[in-house]
């Protein structure tokens, strides 16, 4: 055999991330959408345009309408998500740490978790009234179960060797919980928060579509009833932005709290 170079065989299977290409794609799609509408390729009574949505949002900001709805939605989101998260953390901690709570707690969580929470909105209205009570209950209930499950899984995954180490140095129970278990479970708990924040926004809109005057969900429903597609899609855009901002905040929190990783 004659002398031959050894060919490189490990080509491919290494896609490169190009953030600019991603942004350019989205911009191009918006542009196509706008141009399509101007060329009358589709009726703007059924699908708004990027500029139409932008105008609607500008109008909402100018009239103070946006803030009126957003304030109501944000307050529900904050109260509902926070109360559900705190209760879920407490329940998860108890289930993960105490034998007496573990099996009974998991049985309750496993039985109630699969219920579609939106289906409970009418029941919560009967129990807590058409006002804020039923909305908070829907959000809190919806956030509680995934938080509990994420907390239990995260605590169970804390290495036993670290707990044994702490015991070998004589750390008291509370110190082990605070210094080993909670920080060790934090990555899993924050991953749970990412999911529950998205869940909370879905439930918020659903709850606001029944018996609410204010809130982005109510606004979207009213716009639909009036065939105001520009306003309707402005509401959807605002909800998307809200989701993005919440995910961004949690991402920043993760980068800060888990900088040791």
């Amino acid at each position: 055999m004659t002398d031959q170079p050894v060919p490189f065989r490990a080509r491919g299977f290494a896609p490169v991330t190009r953030p600019l290409a991603g942004a350019a794609t989205l911009l191009a799609l918006l542009l196509l959408w706008e141009l399509g509408a101007r060329a009358h390729l589709f009726a703007t009574t059924f699908l708004s345009t990027p500029t139409g949505i932008a105008h609607a949002i500008a109008g909402l900001i100018a009239s103070g309408e946006l803030w009126r709805h957003l304030a109501a939605s944000l307050a529900r989101l904050a109260w509902g998500w926070t109360s559900g998260t705190l209760a879920g953390l407490a329940a998860g901690l108890a289930i993960a740490l105490f034998t007496t709570a573990r099996s009974p707690g998991m049985a309750i969580v496993s039985a109630l978790f699969p219920i579609p929470k939106i289906a409970l909105v009418p029941l919560f209205i009967i129990w807590f009234g058409i006002g804020e009570g039923s909305k908070l209950a829907t959000l809190g209930f919806g956030v509680f179960f995934p938080t509990t499950i994420a907390t239990v899984a995260a605590i169970d995954a804390v290495p036993r060797s670290l707990i044994r180490m702490a015991q070998s140095f004589g750390l008291p129970w509370w110190a082990i919980t605070r210094k080993i278990i909670l920080p060790g479970a934090l990555p899993g708990i924050l991953a749970g928060c990412r999911i529950t924040a998205a869940t909370a926004i879905i439930l918020l809109v659903a709850a606001e579509m029944i018996g609410a005057e204010r809130g982005i969900g109510a606004f979207v429903l009213q716009a639909g009833n009036l065939y105001d597609v520009d306003a309707l899609m402005a509401g959807i855009t605002i909800l998307s932005a809200l989701g993005l901002i919440v995910a961004g905040v949690i991402g920043a929190l993760e980068r800060f709290l888990l900088r040791w990783r």
């Binding site: 060797s161 670290l162 044994r164 180490m165 702490a166 015991q167 070998s168 140095f169 004589g170 750390l171 008291p172 110190a175 210094k179 080993i180 920080p183 060790g184 934090l186 888990l258 040791w260 990783r261």
Partner: protein
């Protein structure tokens, strides 16, 4: 007599149907370095866990005798094979963990941490995260944390087994010197016979599962001959343990 000694009386330990240790009677004399060797799966680490009260034996008991020095904050102190460092705490923070719940005053705690970090060559790494350190440096943090509490008995659970051969040789000499300075009773578990004869004053040889005491050899004179003797004691057990299916 100064320091703390341990007495193991008729200790048997089972994991489910598996007997890990059987009828162990053993004296750990104060101030000495006792090395426990044996084939893999013979219950060495289980015995160490029982010695320091981290494993409750199925039968028998361990008693401690003597009095720890007055500045001792945690008489029975472990150094772990997997280092057991908190990844979310800095090097200094990991050492601090052993002191925070004790009666040590804050200023004294700070100076104690600086002292053990200097002793273990970690002074320049106080603020580093564990993930930034090599395996050898991580185990130095493990020993610094153990020394910080002024232990009466150091329980070393294969402290060098997770390290590569060169790092192991480097750390062995350092650890031997640190241990001698600490003046504690030492129980050192290893499967490395060269490590055993280099460190030990007495070597306890365990048989394969269920672990029983096969021999207790004092270390003196020709270390190479002793290593050969240890290997002849362990060889058949190690070969048999190697061919055993795990439960």
């Amino acid at each position: 007599m100064s320091g703390l000694g341990l007495q193991v009386a008729a200790v048997t330990h089972r994991y489910g149907g598996l007997t890990a240790l059987e009828s162990i009677d053993l004296t750990i004399p104060p101030g000495e370095v006792t090395v426990i060797v044996g084939p893999s799966g013979c219950g060495k680490s289980t015995l160490l866990g029982i010695l320091g009260g981290l494993i409750d034996p199925s039968a028998g008991h361990v008693t401690q005798h003597g009095t720890p020095a007055p500045d001792c904050l945690n008489p029975l102190t472990y150094v772990f094979q997997d280092f057991a460092l908190l990844p979310w705490r800095s090097v200094a923070g990991n050492v601090a963990l052993a002191l925070e719940h004790t009666s040590l005053a804050r200023a004294e705690r700070t100076s104690r941490i600086a002292e053990v970090l200097a002793q273990t060559g970690l002074a320049d790494f106080a603020d580093a995260w564990p993930k930034q350190l090599s395996g050898g440096m991580r185990q130095r943090v493990g020993i610094a944390r153990a020394l910080a509490v002024r232990p009466a008995v150091l329980l070393m659970d294969e402290p060098l087994s997770a390290l590569d051969a060169q790092t192991r040789d480097l750390l062995l000499d350092d650890f031997a010197a640190l241990i001698a300075r600490a003046g504690a009773t030492v129980v050192w578990v290893t499967h490395n016979l060269a490590e055993a004869v280099r460190l030990g004053q007495r070597i306890v040889v365990l048989s394969r599962r269920p672990g029983r005491i096969k021999a207790i050899l004092p270390v003196h004179g020709d270390r190479q001959a002793l290593e050969a003797q240890l290997w002849s004691l362990i060889r058949d057990d190690a070969a048999a343990a190697d061919r055993e299916l795990t439960a």
